[in-house]
């Protein structure tokens, strides 16, 4: 009999944990509102941080001087009908299992409809061009500057790295799924099944581990590749150059250049999560 702590926790600790963490998520909610307000005001006041590093870009400048960000140029992406190069590359590099049932599905980067990705804007403004409405948008973890998932995690299994990446330590994850409830973008997936079952017959990347049943997973901005000086797998795989990746804190970086020249949107800005993923719509 395989008795795993997660199963055990599910059975025994479930009730206690749910009680405790529900509280913490409530508290988290208040803090979130407060934090975003505070952030806003400090931005206007010109805090020390933004003065030294920001140069107009107010948020999320880490002491490390790095904040990884991604800009997806939908103008280029939408031209490549049915292209899944970036998704395939990610799936391979991270050994992401494929399960048919949408409930059991594991997603790191995927395509979704405009009104799912930009829920708020699409409801506020019904007069969006028909073409855009039909465009499949790339969605992934936004590696928010103010990530609600990190706040609710009871074990600090998910955390924000100094470079702005919202990372996961699967060793610590107890599978409580509070982070999934907290994430407003649906960027997290739970391993309901043994992940290796979803990899049967697939070509695998033996350089990168799989996950175990009972943990939550999501896009990691390819931290393991960044550590080796490589670009994220999806960026590298994109043939049309629709994905730009770089350091948002560096005014000379490519992402900053792209953002300077284009009007870019971020998802659900009113929530104050401050995503690191930008979309150029048109």
């Amino acid at each position: 009999m395989e008795l795993k702590r997660r199963n055990f926790l599910k059975i025994v600790g479930g009730t206690a944990l749910v009680g405790g963490a529900a509280l913490s998520s409530l508290a988290g909610g208040e803090e979130l509102a407060w934090a975003s307000h505070h952030h806003g005001s400090s931005a206007h006041g010109g805090s020390h941080e933004s003065a030294s590093h920001g140069e107009g870009h107010e948020e999320g400048i880490m002491p490390s001087g790095t904040r990884w960000a991604m800009v997806i140029d939908m103008r280029k992406c939408s031209e490549q009908k049915n292209c899944t190069a970036c998704i395939d590359a990610c799936n391979f590099v991270h050994n992401i299992p494929s399960f048919k049932n949408p409930k059991e599905e594991i997603k790191w980067i995927w395509k979704d409809e405009y009104h799912h990705v930009f829920t708020d804007i699409s409801t506020l403004d019904p007069f969006v061009p028909e073409k855009i409405k039909k465009t499949p948008f790339l969605a992934l973890c936004n590696h928010c500057d103010n990530p609600p998932c990190v706040r609710v995690c009871p074990t600090k299994a998910t955390f924000r790295r100094p470079d702005g990446i919202v990372a996961m330590d699967y060793h610590r994850c107890i599978g409580c799924r509070f982070c999934m409830a907290a994430c407003p973008y649906g960027s997290r997936s739970f391993n309901w099944l043994e992940p290796r079952l979803g990899l049967k017959g697939r070509k695998l990347n033996y350089e990168f581990p799989t996950r175990m049943r009972g943990v939550v997973e999501k896009c990691n901005f390819c931290v393991e590749r960044l550590a080796q000086g490589l670009r994220p797998a999806c960026v590298e795989a994109c043939k049309c150059g629709a994905i730009t990746f770089g350091n948002l804190a560096d005014p000379k970086s490519e992402v900053r250049a792209v953002l300077k020249n284009n009007y870019a949107l971020r998802r659900k800005p009113q929530l104050g999560t401050k995503p690191s993923v930008f979309y150029i719509i048109s």
Partner: protein, 128 residues
């Protein structure tokens, strides 16, 4: 009323439980395991003694250092820099779990959950 029968039964049970390890293996010796070291490799990231007693702690530290601090370089006692990765550093040399890890781990009944996620080097070529 002495209840000697009950007392004797009780004592027999006690002695049986107290001496359980002595009769369980019926005196069969369990020789000390000899893990096979990778051929052609002279040294590990630290000394043999250190690795023997402290590898789990080192792996623990590596894990936190790499994952949480994003620092993937380990400097060993000789000042040598080593790339932190169970999969891509340790298992590149120790490429056979059965003859290395399992030898001691089965002996001491230590079953870490490394292999739930990380690929077993030998297996990795077989399992799918």
């Amino acid at each position: 009323m002495y209840d000697s029968g009950k007392v004797i039964i009780g004592l027999v049970i006690f002695v049986a439980i107290a001496t359980f390890p002595f009769w369980f293996g019926m005196g069969k010796a369990a020789p000390m395991p000899e893990p096979q070291l990778p051929k052609g490799k002279k040294e590990c990231v630290e000394s043999k003694e250190f690795m023997r007693s402290t590898h789990m702690q080192l792996l623990n530290e590596w894990r936190d250092q790499a994952l949480r601090d994003g620092d993937r370089t380990y400097v060993n006692h000789e000042g040598k820099k080593i790339w932190i990765s169970l999969q891509n550093t340790c298992m590149k040399c120790h490429d056979n779990k059965e003859v290395f890890c399992d030898k001691c781990h089965i002996y001491a009944n230590v079953k870490p959950y490394c292999w739930d996620c990380h690929f077993i080097p030998k297996e990795s070529k077989q399992w799918n």
